[in-house]
Amino acid sequence: MSGEVLKRARYKTSVKDSGVAGVLKMTEDKFVFMPNDPTSSARFDVEFRFIKGHKFSKGGSNKPALLNLTQDSEKGGGYIFEFENYPDREVCREFVGKALAKFSEASKAGSEQSAVKLFDEQLSTIEMERRIKLLREDSELQKLHKQFVLSGVLTEAEFWATRKKLLDGNTSRTSKQRVGFKSAMISDLKPLTDGRTNRVTFNLTPEIIHQIFAEKPAVHQAFLNFVPNKMTEKDFWNKYCRAEYLHCTRNTVAAAAEAAEDEELAVFLKHDDILANEARRKIRRVDPTLDMEADQGDDYMHLPDHGIFRDGSKEIIDPQYEQYRRTLSQDLNRHAAVVLEGRPIDVELEDTRTVAEALAKSKRVEAANEKSDGSVTRERLERISRMTEIEDLQAPRDLPFAALCIKDPRDYFDSQQANALKTLGDTLAGSKQIKCSLSTQEAYGSLRGFISEIKSVGLSDPIVKPDIALKVLNGLTQNISSTKFHLGKNPQESVLDRLPIITKEELLHHWTSIQELLRHFWSSYPITTTYLYTKASRLKDAMSQIYPKLQEIKESVQSDFRHQVSLLVQPMLQALDAAFAHYDADQQKRSARSGERPNGFV
């Protein structure tokens, strides 16, 4: 960004205001207005970081050239400048745009960078940038991050540990997908005539040049040989276009004549020897069930003058000009083959020379690879034998499968726990603690209890008590019917949409933060280290802080929504309860056993 801009302008408080004439000076981080009349009060010095945006009037001869720098909404107002002419305005506008963009970026990045740096971890800058980018893209994530990491509930590493996939996925997204060649042919490189003169124009773009190199190895080779030693790049392409032009006139005789005079031009007009060699090499690797070339040797018809000669299917061409004839079909086949192969190199298409060299390099690599592969033939044979089988006459083959391999067990168990949690939230069963290690006495005692209970109550045939069942059923029907009544008409509308916006957002936010906390909470079990222990207790504290907030929400909403909200809050509370119960039980176990096993436990 160039240092500063100085322009004459009038400062206006509103569009209709006549304004104060003066000089507007803009530097990288602020702008200063100095009125011509030194007594005027309209003198100010504002930093760009207070400016939120800018607007400007459309260009037109009779309209004034306005630029409005808008300020924060709460501070109100903005700064309107009228310039003497549009070019001046444009200069300023561009400058402001750049300054603002830079500033907002810097400020955002700055704040988050500092946040990340709070925790002294050894992170690569790339990793850091990636995290910052993610946070910036996802406001939800940013909120969570702020809430937990900055408040110290979770460490930076913990927060990101559960989001590894997000980070990884991002890397693959950053290495952008390679674009293949276009399906359209380069023969679409149509000569343009202007109609009046005999001049013919061709348009070559780097993209087209790359494609030409890939499809016509002879041109590629010639380019490497001739440019820049023998001729300039411009001359080279001139010559190429001349050859193309001759080709599209389909005058093989003229082409032959021109080629005879100019040997460089001949390179473009003649058959491509490199291609022919490549074809000969490739033909050996072709599927033998397709190989029509093999017939050539077996077919006695090809003996000169054997078979029926003039049956109307063969075309006659003078062999002298044969090599200057290039058909559309050849071009089509070649083009399709190149498109199918895909773009072998990944370089910027700016400089033709580098493209040409990179392509040559990739070709050499390819040729080297080709020699080493022996498994290809075997693979091909297997393919043939598979293809000869008639599929529906036999039982279907076992499809090839890959063994399950969990790359990151941590990730897997995290997700499993999250799933478990979800079912936990849905059913009440989760809140009951199941004690697994029972002594015989305990078991006996509980069995006795059951027996005596049954003795006193009698064996109830239905396992669920009728009155409870009725209650649940009533509750459910009421609930369903009321929701149905409100929502049945519109499938898109959900309960949430009917709540006040603030409540809705709060609920959603709490839901995500609870989920985040729970995920970490459950993933820290079984507690094996003191680190996990402190983490669990820290998480428990954080959750217990949310608990009353949920109650608050429930109470704050109006009575007609209260039922809905409580329905929504219920699973959250249950999930939290389950977590607390687990924590308490674990705590008890721990204190109980700590005496017996001084070494701690696993």
């Binding site: 399906s183 359209a184 042919m185 023969s187 679409d188 074809a279 000969r280 490739k282 033909i283 072709v286 599927d287 033998p288 069930t289 397709l290 190989d291 029509m292 070339e293 093999a294 017939d295 050539q296 040797g297 077996d298 077919d299 006695y300 018809m301 090809h302 003996l303 000169p304 003058d305 054997h306 078979g307 029926i308 000669f309 003039r310 049956d311 109307g312 299917s313 063969k314 075309e315 006659i316 058909t327 559309l328 079909s329 050849q330 089509l332 086949n333 399709a336 083959a337 498109v339 199918l340 044979l381 043939i384 034998s385 000869t388 089988e389 008639i390 599929e391 529906d392 006459l393 036999q394």
Partner: protein, 758 residues
């Protein structure tokens, strides 16, 4: 599975069998029992090849005392590979069930070019150079010289093979060309000569039609096959054309010039020999006096492609006295070349029968019919005597002698046509003298006579009664099978109108109409956007395809097509076409989808399968009639009318429709496969054309699909594809079983086997 057909236990490598495969086998078995010939039409996609192989090998296994040999002829080398792959599958199955008793030797046989492993030889450009390159290293006189002079190069593979002598055998198994090469490399033996040697001991030999039909090749390669062989011509719908081509020769100016050069080269050689080794020429003379019969005793590496279909008694005859001496023979050939030169100078088209032609040669050049007849053999005897190894240089004179022998041997079924220029390009003088054979039965006659069973089979042999007439034989079994389908997995349509409702056709007066070209383009464009994976288009000729593709390119339709699928084209260059096909398959495999443009009488239509996702739709643009103004065709039509009372129109339609059916039949491989076929020409809706299509297509051609326009066809295509994507019951709906298991067959075996389900 394993089941009985009468007294033969058939081993079939799959768990199930199609009912038509079963009845095909039953018919085939009857033909074998009767030791007679068979003509069987069975739709493509019903596993014809495996049914054939499985029955014949099982038949041979069940009669161990006198096992029959199978000579399986394919049109092309890649079909040979496919057949051998199926045979391998079958063989593995039989080995599993029968153990070592089922061991057979099966091999593919091809030319040196496909079998040679000597890198110095095989790198040559074409077949003739490879042959010549081989001969330079392996001819008996070269090897004799090499013994004295170690600087003379020989082929180490051939030397090793010779050294191993009787040890050099192939262990039982199934050998494709590639396996043969690998085996040869492993042992250091020449695979070509090994295979040639093993052919006599093999149970199954798979090779090209020419090895039986072309007398030049058949004489050496197939002469040792016993009478108790079954000869199968697979994909034989074009067999009449192959027979005709095998006996046709054409002579152009270049041929004559080349022949003159060859003659002077030979004259030099003769003079050289006269000076150095006169005894050799004398020895040849004496040999010729005794006759040609000893030719068979030549070392294997010296043998020549033998004489054209000479009756056996001629072989015992002595070569006429006036061409026994080398220089006399050369002067006869010179006079012949001179005479042909004179005939080529004509201004008008001339047509003659062989008898008149021979008489004219006799009067003008003083060469009688008997001398002509022996030209081919005499030439080869001379070339052997002169120890000429670079045979590829002497092709022209061979052509001339070939021509002479044919003219001298046959008195009917041929005509000689001299054209001063191609009538499509009257301004370019390009005289050609063509000896064209009209009678397909001439070439195939020795085959029918020599072997006890000849099976001619294909997916398209309709009308099936025409073939016995064309080939002049009496089949004991002649049947056409229809296809029992589990679901309607083929969908033929006749498209008569384009998107603008105007008729489309490749009729001569309509084909260059821009409206028709555009309508064809729109049809393809609409289809590429609807049909997944591969689409194959067939055009009536190369020139038409070139024209229409160029027009599409100029009008931008091609570009739009390429937005949907990649485009590949068959060209006259085989290497390029092969690579294009390979790429086409890759494009279909990777899901990109592609269109393949091909020609109805081209090599692709002949033998490449577009099964499964390689072809979900075939569009046949136009009716692939032959070039009707061709004089050769006209002469043949005349001959057919006079000899077999076949009407010209009937024959042309029959020929065009069998090509069309052949093209569209390439999309189906099994009943699990599916595909659509569009016949895009208004002429297909006419009954006389349509009715010539094979039954299995006609039975699926619904009346509602007979007169469609592009939009209707598009609608049908959408519906069809949606329906085919649904899962279905493979065994077929109750009542009509389309897939038989072993139990089903046993149950049927109790009752009458005739009671088939279709």
């Amino acid at each position: 599975m394993k089941f009985q057909i009468e007294d033969v236990t058939v081993y079939f490598p799959y768990d199930n069998i199609y009912p038509e495969q079963y009845s095909y086998m039953v018919e085939l078995k009857r033909a074998l029992d009767a030791k007679g010939h068979a003509l069987l039409e069975m739709p493509t996609g019903t596993g014809k090849t495996i049914a054939l192989l499985s029955l014949i090998t099982s038949y041979a296994l069940s009669k161990p005392s006198n096992p029959i040999k199978l000579l399986y002829c394919t049109r092309t080398v890649h079909e040979m590979e496919k057949t051998l792959a199926e045979l391998r599958l079958l063989h593995q199955y039989q080995l599993r069930h029968l153990g070592p008793a089922a061991r057979i030797l099966a091999l593919g046989l091809s030319s040196r070019k496909n079998l040679c492993i000597n890198p110095a030889v095989v790198s040559a450009e074409n077949r003739d150079s490879v042959d010549a390159g081989c001969r330079k290293l392996t001819a008996s006189w070269v090897r004799a010289l090499a013994v004295e002079n170690p600087n003379i190069p020989t082929c180490q593979f051939f030397e090793n093979y010779e050294k191993a002598a009787s040890e050099a055998v192939l262990p039982p198994g199934v050998y494709t060309l590639q396996d043969l090469r690998a085996f040869g490399r492993d042992k250091g033996w020449c695979p070509y000569f090994l295979a040639r040697h093993m052919v006599q001991f093999a149970n199954v030999v798979v090779y090209s039609y020419q090895y039986l039909l072309d007398p030049k090749v058949a004489g050496i390669i197939s002469k040792e096959m016993q009478r108790e062989s079954v000869v199968v011509f697979d994909e034989a719908h074009n067999i009449d054309n192959v027979c005709i081509e095998a006996l046709s020769v054409s002579v152009r100016r270049q041929t004559l010039e080349g022949a003159t050069r060859n003659l002077s080269k030979m004259a030099q050689e003769i003079n050289r020999f006269k000076a150095t080794d006169a005894g050799r020429l004398r020895a040849e003379y004496n040999r010729l006096v005794e006759g040609l019969a000893q030719r068979g005793n030549l070392p294997i590496s010296d043998t020549w492609l033998a004489n054209p279909a000479l009756p056996d008694d001629i072989l015992k005859e002595a070569v006429p006295g006036n061409i026994r001496r080398a220089e006399h023979f050369l002067s006869v050939l010179r006079r012949l070349v001179q005479y042909l030169h004179g005939r080529l100078e004509t201004e008008n088209v001339e047509k003659e029968g062989p008898v008149a032609f021979v008489a004219s040669i006799n009067s003008q050049a003083g060469i009688d019919q008997k001398m002509l007849k022996f030209c081919y053999d005499r030439l080869h005897s001379l070339m052997l005597t002169l120890e000429i190894t670079d045979t590829d240089e002497f092709l022209h004179i061979q052509t001339i002698c070939d021509f002479a022998t044919l003219v001298g041997t046959y008195t009917r079924g041929f005509s000689i046509i001299i054209e001063p220029f191609d009538e499509r390009m009257p301004h370019i003088p390009d005289p050609v003298l063509q000896l064209s054979c009209h009678d397909a039965s001439l070439a195939i006659k020795p085959v029918f006579e020599r072997f006890q069973s000849v099976v001619i089979t294909s997916g398209t042999l309709s009308p099936i009664d025409l073939y016995p007439r064309l080939l002049n034989f009496n089949p004991v079994v002649s049947r056409s099978f229809t296809m029992s389908l589990t679901r309607n997995c083929i969908c033929p349509m006749v498209l008569t109108r384009g998107s603008d409702q105007l008729p489309v056709s490749t009729k001569f007066d309509m084909r260059s109409d821009p409206g028709v070209v555009r309508n064809y383009g729109r049809l393809l464009l609409e289809m590429v956007s609807v049909v997944p994976d591969g689409i194959v288009c067939f055009f009536v000729s190369y020139s038409y395809m070139d024209g229409i593709v160029n027009t599409w390119n100029e009008s931008g339709i091609l570009k739009e097509i390429m937005q949907h699928k990649l485009v590949f084209i068959e060209t006259q260059d085989v290497v390029e076409t092969t690579l294009a096909l390979d790429n086409y398959r890759r494009a279909c495999d990777c899901g990109r989808g592609a269109v393949f443009f091909s020609v109805a009488r081209g090599k692709v239509a002949e033998g490449i399968d577009f099964d499964r996702h390689y072809g979900r739709l075939v569009i046949m643009f136009g009716v692939p009639f032959q070039y009707t103004l061709s004089r050769i065709l006209l002469a043949r039509l005349e001959y057919l009318r006079e000899t077999f009372q076949i009407k010209e129109g009937d024959f042309l339609t029959f020929d065009a429709l069998r090509q069309a059916a052949q093209c569209v039949g390439r999309v189906i491989r099994s009943k699990a496969d599916y595909g659509m076929m569009i016949f895009a020409d208004k002429r297909y809706s006419r009954h006389d054309k349509r009715s010539k299509l094979p039954g299995w297509i006609l039975s699926h051609l619904r009346d509602a699909h007979l007169n469609l326009s592009t939009d209707m066809a598009l609608h049908i295509a959408r519906e069809f594809l949606r329906k085919m994507a649904q899962p279905y019951d493979k065994a077929g709906v109750s009542g009509r079983k389309t897939l038989l298991s072993e139990e089903d067959l046993e149950k049927m075996g109790d009752g009458t086997t005739n009671e088939m389900l279709f």
